[in-house]
Amino acid sequence: MDAGPILRLQNVVKKFGTFTALHGIDLDIYDGEFLTIVGPSGSGKSTLIRILVGMEDVSDGEIWLRDQRIDQTPANKRPTCMVFQSLALFPHMSVGHNIEFPLKIQGVAPAARKARALELMALLHLPDDYYTKRISQCSGGERQRVALARALAFDPEILFFDEPLSALDYRLRKTLEKELKDLHARTGKTFVYITHSLEEAMVMSDRIAIMKAGRFEQIGGADEIYGKPVSRFVASFMGEVNLFDIEGGGDGRLDGPDLDVHVNGNAEDFGIRLDKGAKGTLMVRPEYVRFLASSDTSDFIVRGTLRAEYALGSRIQYEVETPGGQALTVEKLREDRFAGAEGSQVVLGFDAENVHLIRGE
């Protein structure tokens, strides 16, 4: 990551009539990284990627590819390319000709084109005899690979992905996620991937950018985003989470409804400090919450009623309702299964090193 970013966005704004889809985006993308942009539908992530490949114009702002400004460059002149959500394979061409298309455009000789296509097919685990197959004869997963091979044949500086896996079934998606990560490592190219699925982002990315309503909420590594979200939005977007409203009580004390705080006095050691009257949200992930026996102690304690138990395969998830009516989630490995019956009173605890404080309302 020397020599600065490969792609730099400065204050990129996109307006559709009176609606502002992107509110001044700043982003640096580094050479060789796998960056995933995650956001719910309507967050502007698709608009952003369409701007980056040149299919939409920017309303304002600049995009720099290394030392070259590209925001006014048409899509066919940019050294980037995209794998479409629909894949956008050419139905009238064979698998081989689809893959060769960018090479044909570049004027590469037929023999060299074919050699390169077969090379890419091997890289993507497509058998050689697929070269002459029609696109309509390929399965969903094979089409993904053809689309990827075609994009790689273009040899782009940056490869963009617009949710290409979203239409596939779960198992195939899991396989392809890993293949994609592997492909990234083998090709060393810069991948920019957009998705609404946190799981996809976590599996593949070096960095994750969380988008909400045309702005980035947080950009960071998977661990950072999972463990130290900057807002309730990020915290709850990144999977199951328990959030408690808390308020600074002065002298380093914390107060919250339903919550017994036993770390007062040394909570600051864990970076949990609120000034008197300041509000915040305490976050703890379900896997860090324990069921306490009567003799156990914990930094934070919550009482409640066990409402439901869900088997998630290797893990079990429990839903606990506090007297204040808040639903909490606890997750245990199957071997640590909790024996309580539904409707019974339980005591939950978690420790200060596993919580994260989100400041502000």
Binding site: G54, M55, A75, N76, F84, A88, P91, H92, F101, I105
Partner: protein, 284 residues
């Protein structure tokens, strides 16, 4: 149950199918038989010979055929070139305005072809709408553009425009937007997108539109008579003359057979090359 329904449906379709088949095939058969009768007979009970066909070459009727096919080819080619941008707009750009264009084009079909062509004659003739007014105000007259092959081709283009435009728009609508965008993203220029993505994917529409306008133009008569003033004789004119003034049914029939064979094999060749299901919307 389903099979019984199928069988009953099939059975009840038979009478109409027979009537349609006969009424379609019988005239063709009669024409085919007359074409191998000796010349100037009015009965099918004669010894067949091919004298009518030999006249096609010896008396120069092949020239009429070549004119017809040539002008049909030219008008189809020009129609394709001028309809492509319009059809592209209708399929991809104009949105609701497409309906307005459709209505205008269809409305022109509500008026008889002959009347519309006479309208052009009155507009273009010497002393007509254009030249007459021009001469009245400026004192300078000019020759009418009527009565040559160019104006016949213009007439063919004018009359058969809907038959090219609508199939073409249908064909272009079948080109997925994302395929075009992907091609651009992969570095293709506008021209490369046209030749490598749009034309092949719109091929069914192009084929249907071209076949319709070519077949209709090759058999057209009114354009050469009214606008062309018989500057050239087209094959349809020869056929009509043979059946009427010429009182030579076998000659008319043989000329018709030649035209039918040429156009029929063209149509079969064209249709066999495309996926008609695709353009009828039964696939994808």
């Amino acid at each position: 149950m389903e099979r019984l329904d199928q069988r009953l449906g099939f059975l009840s379709a038979i009478p109409l199918a027979v009537i349609l088949g006969l009424s379609f095939l019988a005239p063709l058969v009669v024409v085919a038989l007359f074409s191998i009768m000796p010349q100037k007979v009015f009965s099918l009970f004669n010894t067949p010979d091919f004298s009518a066909y030999s006249v096609f070459f010896s008396q120069g009727y092949y020239r009429s055929l070549l004119w017809s096919l040539g002008m049909a080819f030219a008008s189809t080619l020009i129609l394709f070139v001028i309809c492509w941008p319009l059809a592209f707009g209708m399929a991809k750009v104009f949105r609701r305005f497409t309906l307005v264009i459709t209505i205008f084009v269809v409305m022109s079909l509500f008026v008889s072809e002959n009347i519309r062509l006479f309208g052009w004659v009155l507009t273009l003739m010497k002393g007509g709408l254009i030249e007459g007014h021009f001469r009245y105000y400026t004192g300078i007259g000019f020759d009418s553009p009527l009565y040559n092959t160019g104006i016949i081709v213009f007439g063919l283009i004018y009359v058969y425009l809907p038959f090219m435009l609508f199939p073409l728009a249908q064909g272009i609508a079948m080109v997925p937007d994302d395929a075009r965008q992907a091609a651009a993203d992969l570095g293709a220029s506008r021209w490369q997108i046209l030749t490598q993505i749009e034309l092949p994917l719109a091929a069914p529409g192009i084929m249907v539109g071209s076949l319709l306008s070519f077949v209709l133009a090759a058999g057209a008569l009114a354009e050469s008579k009214l606008l062309g003033g018989q500057a050239v004789i087209v094959i349809a004119d020869d056929i009509e003359t043979a059946f009427t003034f010429g009182q030579n049914w076998p000659l008319g029939a043989s000329l018709a057979m030649i035209l039918i064979l040429i156009i029929g094999s063209l149509a079969i060749f064209g249709v066999s090359r495309i996926d008609l299901d695709a353009i009828m919307g039964r696939k994808r």
